[in-house]
């Protein structure tokens, strides 16, 4: 037995994304944001997308490119504070935004990746964030139903990978990547370093390659990945 090879050219990896798709995008700020895959999705041109991403990056960076190109109809997120473009699009009605508590967004994505229907949570139950949510009584207590989220595609950034798609992340670039890598029908990972099979220690793999469909090796990293000097 040997493990199958999933390395692809970036255009081939991204080709299956269609108009109207839901696309999850890893990253919290710059760390873990798949900058190169995002540019490829701009070039690809799929329209009317629903994005799922923790934040909207900053103007001129990351998913802001997809907002600026008008490809995004809806954004499921936790915080837009650093992207004035995103807030302007939201306020003008050009962009529909659904806010989630950050850890609840993480759990909804993970639940999608784990084949569950929902999680029950009490986060925000007595605030306006509970409005419109289904409530379940269990053992005399009320719980909010937080439905699982799945996507047609997930764009992932990893530090290291092997050709089967086993992924390892570094530092705070992990964030939503391992969760989104479980929760999409087509999981596309851009990786800084591609190692041969066996190059990653079995116990130090964050995302088992079973979840990953396409592995794209990055060349020289663009300035967008660098330290942001504000």
């Amino acid at each position: 037995m040997r493990l199958p090879n999933k390395t692809r050219a970036i255009e081939e990896a991204i080709a299956g994304i269609k108009d109207g798709d839901t696309v999850m995008v890893g990253g919290f700020g710059v760390p873990g944001t798949p900058m190169t895959l995002i540019h490829a999705l701009v070039d690809h041109g799929a329209q009317n997308l629903t994005l799922v991403k923790n934040d909207a990056n900053e103007p001129g960076m990351g998913i802001d490119h997809l907002l600026q190109s008008g490809q995004v109809a809806r954004l499921i997120t936790t915080h837009l504070g650093l992207n004035s473009n995103a807030i302007a699009q939201m306020n003008s009605g050009a962009l529909e935004v659904e806010f989630n508590a950050q850890g609840i967004l993480a759990e909804r994505i993970r639940a999608g990746g784990a084949g569950l229907g929902a999680v029950l949570s009490d986060i925000g139950i007595d605030t306006e964030l509970a409005q419109g949510k289904q409530v379940v009584e269990m053992d005399g207590k009320s719980w909010l139903v937080e439905p699982a989220l799945r996507a047609d595609a997930a764009l992932i950034h990893a530090d290291r990978a092997d050709p089967f798609g086993n992924l390892a992340y570094v530092a705070t670039a992990q964030n939503f990547n391992p969760l989104m890598a479980m929760a999409a029908t087509c999981v596309i990972a851009e990786v800084e370093t591609l190692l041969p099979l066996g190059g990653l220690e079995a116990d130090a793999i964050h995302t088992p390659g079973i979840f990953v469909d396409h592995v794209v090796e990055l060349g020289q990293l663009s300035e967008e990945y660098a330290v942001v000097r504000r």
Binding site: M1, R2, L3, P4, N5, R110, G112, G113, A114, G115, L116, D162, P163, F164, N166, M182, A183, P196, L197, G198, L200, A202, D203, I205, P208, G209, I210, F211
Partner: protein, 210 residues
């Protein structure tokens, strides 16, 4: 039958081999065959089973056998392992059976009053793998057919089984019930039908043997 079942695995698949007979399928896969074997206790990329002298005390499959890894193996916890199963990332699982019904219902975890050790991971495998096939003897130890019109034992999952590999035949579960696909060398279709407790459709053409 184990060798025949091994041919059911297509290149590139992710496969879980259930405890018992299915585990032996691993011995019929060549070293360069592209496949990822998964075991629910937390390993992808299973290599050949090892003897006690070469065993790693921390590396077992779900049946407790000492296994090896291949280049690119990954280890993970039980939640991640079943996330793989329930989210449909298993292309195929091969399971043992007490009974299979003509509608593909599977019973393989409980015999009330006799055997009820718990289902382990079997229910999730049977319910969520994209394709579920069964590897079992055509009849039980006292000669009773395991393939029946309906299961009498508590079900593992409903309508999940699509194909059954036995010591006598390969049998598909079709919308019209059991259908004979192949027979073992030296076994007649009539013998298979006799050992099946439900109607068995025969093909119009000659029946291949394995």
């Amino acid at each position: 039958m184990v060798a025949r079942a091994a041919r059911e695995i297509a290149p590139g698949m992710v496969v879980n081999l259930g405890i018992g007979l299915p585990t032996r399928v691993v011995n019929h896969l060549s070293a360069d065959f592209p496949v990822c074997l998964h075991t629910e206790n937390g390993l992808s990329g299973i290599g050949p089973t090892l003897g006690y002298d070469k065993a790693d005390r921390n590396l077992i499959d779900a049946g407790g056998a000492y296994v090896s890894t291949v280049p690119g193996s990954a280890c993970f916890d039980s939640a991640t392992s079943f996330a793989i199963v329930r989210s449909g990332r298993l292309d195929l699982t091969m399971l043992g059976a007490f009974e299979v019904s003509a509608t593909g219902d599977l019973a393989n975890w409980k015999i009330p009053g006799k055997f009820s050790p718990g289902a382990g991971g079997g229910i999730e495998l049977a319910q969520k793998a994209r394709r579920v096939v069964v590897l079992t003897t055509q009849t039980d130890r006292v000669g009773n057919p395991k393939l029946k019109e309906a299961c009498s034992l508590p079900l593992t999952a409903r309508g999940c089984v699509t194909r059954i590999f036995t010591d006598m035949a390969v049998i598909d579960v079709t919308p019209a019930g059991f259908a004979l696909v192949e027979t073992a060398d030296g076994v007649s279709a009539a013998e298979v039908a006799e050992a099946t407790d439900a109607p068995l459709a025969l093909p119009d053409t000659a029946i291949p043997t394995f």
